[in-house]
Amino acid sequence: MSDVLLKVDNLKTHFFLDEGVVPAVDGVSFHLNRGETLAVVGESGSGKSITSLSIMRLIPSPPGRIVGGSIYFNGQDLLKLPEKEMRRIRGNKISMIFQEPMTSLNPVYRVGDQIAEALINHQGVNKKEAMEKAVEMLRLTGIPSPEKRAYEFPHQMSGGMRQRVMIAMALSCRPELLIADEPTTALDVTIQAQILELMQELQEKFGTAIIMITHDLAVVAEMADRAAVMYCGKVVEEATVEELFEKPLHPYTRGLLASIPRVEEEVDKLYMIEGTVPNLMHLPAGCAFAPRCPEAESRCHRARPELVEVSPGRKVSCWLVEGGAG
């Protein structure tokens, strides 16, 4: 079996609205190896969530539709699977946890039942066994007295607890891939650290590969092996985390890195990337980042650079990078 678990190639997911077509994801490519953690970073609206929902094939339709590309998971193109087989993958081989732990659990069912549901659905176990496994999963996520907590309703739990429940649910069937869409953004800082630690611990235990979506670069440094930087529905840079932090190639990546607050430097004003993310319906003709790029030249405004491999495993789409955009 190859090392590549997931290979997303030229994925395009568009939203067809009355006002026009929104190319929320427009040619995204990246890959993920077994057991590794890939961080997907980028500003709000860059298409991170839509990319992950596309992998799950859970794009709200209408108005959204995957209009092109392929998503190879274990060598099988998910976009070609019938819905019935896709359902066997969701929650079983690929799981997802979301940003909003407060609203991601069904308020009218006990949390244990909600975890057990995934097990009954995919593993053909009976209700009793499923409930026992659910309690076991809750124990693994570090929830105290899980045998009692399993019978509680979501509203009886804090946000951090609920996110642990979501993690227990997502990992209950031992998926090969976990997509975590900003799993800690809505939580307190101390709880954030605990949840991230928990995810790392369970990843080691189960060998799960993780796609970690975040706009927090500290999380990237902490958790990820590699990172893909997204801007306006495209991946603009892909690299190992070390490379990315040491020598960011894309001006957008440099901008993101420069805007991290540093403890050792007393700065009066935090660096911010100038300007705002352009409207996806009216993207500039050239590089989408050119209007905000401090280094942009005239060709940047004229033509769009491709994502090209500049050194093994290292990709960037920028005219200014030696060998980039060929």
Partner: protein, 334 residues
């Protein structure tokens, strides 16, 4: 839970007291002299005065009200001026017919309303959605007596499929157990009676259900539309559940919480006697009885019926509120 229940029961007291006072005052201030109703136009002044005295109508109003309340508490609603039978007996004799009609209507309204509402929401902006929402608009705006008459003209007078009026063919009444003919027929295995009872029930129940069906369908559609956009629905899909399970287990259960209130309110209203429907179909329930009583100025019967109806209404609503506890674990009763 028990404490909440008792508290709610206690709260019924001021409500029912208020209703009693209101009914009492309205009837005493606005209705013609009951003595004349009983004795007729040609009674002498002395006869009328004697009757008034014996009925206690010459006492101050508050004394009369006090006596009225005291009697109510003893289950004494007075006697009908028309039949001289105790009012409560009159009402209870008619109540099963009303309950049967109301239950049939609410079952139709709930099943049809919820189903249509769910499908409309899941297939928003489809032809089904448009047609059913036009239907719902008709349902809330169509006068019931007109709908009832149209049904009678089509199904009874033209097609001769269904009887025009009444609860059952004469002589077909099943043995009395609950007083609901459909239920009693089933309990006694009397299929001929069941057939007759259902034939009589279907038109009035459908006519009566039209308004509630429309309300429930609209409400279900709008709450479903809201619920299926929720994050936990996305979570359910991400678990790999079948769309049917996502909709009927995860979404509908949440969407039903507000719908149950509406169903409960509708049931409360229907239980109070569907005056128009019962009149159009000559359905022998408390609604049509009340119309007779009003026309005959039988004020003890009117008074008793209104208070009885109000009691049924608040009790039904109390039961619905308790149903909430089962549907929505977030509600804490205290």
């Amino acid at each position: 839970m028990l404490r909440y229940f008792l508290k709610r029961l206690l709260m019924l007291i001021p409500v029912l007291l208020g209703v009693s006072l209101f009914v009492f005052l309205v009837l005493h201030l606005l209705t013609p002299d009951p003595a004349l109703v009983v004795l007729g136009q040609h009674a002498t002044a002395e006869q009328a005065e004697a009757l008034r005295e014996s009925l206690g109508l010459n006492d101050p109003l508050y004394v009369q009200f006090g006596r009225f309340l005291w009697d109510l508490l003893h289950g004494d609603f007075g006697r009908s001026l028309m039949t001289h039978a105790p009012v409560l007996e009159e009402i209870l004799a008619r109540f099963p017919a009303t309950v049967e009609l109301a239950l049939a209507a609410i079952i139709i309204a709930t099943v049809v309303g919820v189903t249509v509402g769910v499908i409309s929401a899941v297939k928003q902006y489809s032809i089904f959605d448009y047609l059913s929402m036009i239907g719902a608009l008709l349902g809330v705006s169509m006068p019931i007596f007109w709908l009832g008459l149209m049904m009678i003209i089509v199904f009874s007078l033209t097609l001769h499929l269904l009887p025009v009026n009444g609860r059952i063919d004469i002589g077909m009444e099943p043995a009395h157990i609950t007083g609901l003919y459909v239920v009693d027929s089933i309990l006694t295995g009397n299929w001929e009676s069941l057939k007759s009872a259902l034939k009589h029930l279907v038109m009035p129940a459908t006519a009566l259900a039209s308004y509630s069906t429309a309300i429930i369908a609209r409400m279900t559609r709008s709450t479903m539309l809201e619920v299926i956009r929720q994050d936990y629905i996305r979570t359910a899909r991400a678990k790999g559940l079948k769309e049917k399970v996502v909709i009927y287990k995860h979404a509908l259960r949440n969407a039903l919480i507000p719908v149950v209130t509406v169903i409960g309110l509708q049931l409360g209203v229907l239980m109070g006697g569907a005056v128009l429907t019962e009149t159009v179909f000559s359905w022998p329930g408390i609604g049509s009885r009340m119309v007779d009583a009003i026309l005959a100025s039988d004020y003890p019967l009117v008074q008793g019926t209104v208070i009885f109806t109000a009691t049924v209404f608040v009790v039904v609503n109390l039961i619905v509120d308790l149903l909430y506890a089962w549907l929505d674990p977030r509600i804490k009763y205290s």
